[in-house]
């Protein structure tokens, strides 16, 4: 082929067309804050949470990374609408997240309900579960039909599972699985439901280029998660093991796709783990 000024110029313009718009507000914020690269950690707005000696509670682990690309966490938190604000307040009747060991106590003490945003909600025929987060961590919120019998327990988990947590913590690629746990949805309880209204829930963070997240629940079921603003969440009704006593919670595989349908990241064999910080 002929390689000259004209063909080079045309090809460079074609190459430029492959670029995607940036999150200009995030870029401005980072530039003003002095960040030189997208992947730099956002400065924490909150003061560091005191880390006291404590037992390991749980940590959601991710195994089997198939892609390693430069990545950063979500650009920031969206504002709550008035309806979302009400949902978040309903989720945190004590005014903030609670301790996984004692759900009558707020933890962290300085985490306030006003710092939390409803990031993404997965809705099905029965009800919904939302990922609700702040700059430092998140809780899961599942509205109940009987709040007295099934009070909400918004257990705080720092982003990255380690205190103090920030939106970039634990991010090593376009897909970060922050939670694989179970939630109770009293709307699903029925006489023939052996699981007690339990749902397996997977949630986390994704890069901007991720437009679809698929969860393989390792029991023949696959679902597309709800994805919004750099976060995702999905759930399925839990099933009971053959022993009839315990929930079946095999390791799941989570796959992220871009808008062309290409797989851009995958986390395989993500083990089930209760929520909470790694240490205090």
């Amino acid at each position: 082929m002929n390689v000259d000024e004209k063909t080079i110029a045309a090809e460079l313009r074609r190459l430029a067309d492959a670029s995607r718009p940036v999150n200009e507000q995030a870029m401005v914020a980072r530039a003003v804050a002095g960040a030189r690269r997208r992947r730099l950690t956002w400065s924490l707005a909150a003061s560091a949470v005191a880390v006291a000696a404590g037992a390991l509670i749980a940590v959601p682990l991710t195994l089997g990374t198939t892609t390693a690309t430069p990545a950063s966490g979500p650009a920031g938190l969206p504002a709550n609408t008035s309806a979302q604000l009400q949902s978040v307040r309903d989720c945190m009747p004590l005014g903030g997240p609670v301790d996984g060991m004692d759900t009558r106590k707020r933890y962290p003490a300085d985490a306030d309900v006003k710092d939390f945003r409803e990031l993404v909600v997965y809705r099905d025929d029965v009800g919904s579960t939302a990922l609700v987060g702040s700059e430092t961590g998140f809780v899961l919120c599942t509205p109940q039909k009987d709040k007295e019998a099934f009070p909400s327990s918004p257990v705080f988990t720092p982003w990255g599972s380690a205190l103090p947590g920030d939106l970039d913590a634990g991010v090593s690629g376009p897909l970060t699985v922050d939670a694989y746990t179970t939630e109770t949805d009293s709307n699903a309880m029925s006489d023939d439901d052996q699981s007690g209204g339990r749902y397996r829930v997977v949630a986390g963070r994704v890069a901007r280029e991720v437009t679809r997240v698929e969860i393989d629940w390792a029991d023949g079921r696959r679902t597309d998660a709800a994805v919004a603003g750099g976060f995702f969440i999905g759930r399925v009704p839990a099933r009971v093991n053959a022993d009839g006593k315990h929930l079946d919670t095999p390791a799941v595989t989570v796959t992220a796709y871009d808008q062309t349908g290409e797989v851009i990241d995958r986390r395989a064999e993500v083990p089930y783990a209760p929520l909470g910080p790694v240490s205090r």
């Binding site: 390689v3 430029a16 067309d17 670029s19 718009p21 940036v22 200009e24 980072r30 002095g34 690269r37």
Partner: protein, 168 residues
């Protein structure tokens, strides 16, 4: 920056970010690196906003060129790198099947950053050699020779499989 300057800066980024990310992408070849490059340039711009606010875009573009070329000069960057597999481009027995555009685009991606930057300045930005020399901090003669070498290398890359020079 005071609040007024921050507003001006935000307005500038809002108005010009599409154009700037296109340039960053042409220089780097992938979205993530392009965003890093643009972020670095914007951050440097904030510290000099008072001095360059009359024409901030020229400054941002200049910073991006210098950042990209200096990144290439860094010891951490190999000027030529072995790649796991050849970029997806024509093989000699499939020449007729492969789009010319794809071949040239792959060749552009395979050029070292400095050579690519010269071509971007000359043919994407459409700048005269004297201005390219000013931006790159070299003589007009160097611009000419770099341009010539870049085009020669492009022609070679289009003709034969790319094995040793990689995008980054």
């Amino acid at each position: 920056m005071n609040n007024e300057q921050k507003r001006d800066f935000a307005d500038f980024v809002a108005a010009r970010s599409d154009s700037l990310i296109r340039l960053a992408y042409v220089l780097t070849g992938d979205q993530a690196t392009a965003e890093d490059l643009l972020q670095t340039a914007l951050t440097k711009t904030t510290s000099r906003w008072n001095k360059i606010r009359d024409n901030p875009e020229a400054y941002v573009r200049k910073v991006m060129y210098h950042e990209q070329v200096s990144r290439w000069r860094s010891p951490r960057w190999g000027r030529e790198k072995l790649v796991d597999s050849p970029p997806e481009r024509m093989a000699s027995d499939r020449t007729a099947e492969v789009d010319d555009h794809l071949a040239l685009q792959q060749a552009l991606r395979a050029l070292p950053p400095r050579k690519r930057a010269v071509l971007v300045l000359r043919y994407y930005e459409d700048l005269p050699e004297s201005e390219v020399a000013t931006i790159m901090g070299c003589s007009v003669g160097t611009v000419r020779s770099q341009t010539h070498q870049a085009i020669t290398r492009l022609r070679e890359l289009v003709r034969k499989p790319v094995m040793l020079e990689a995008w980054k």
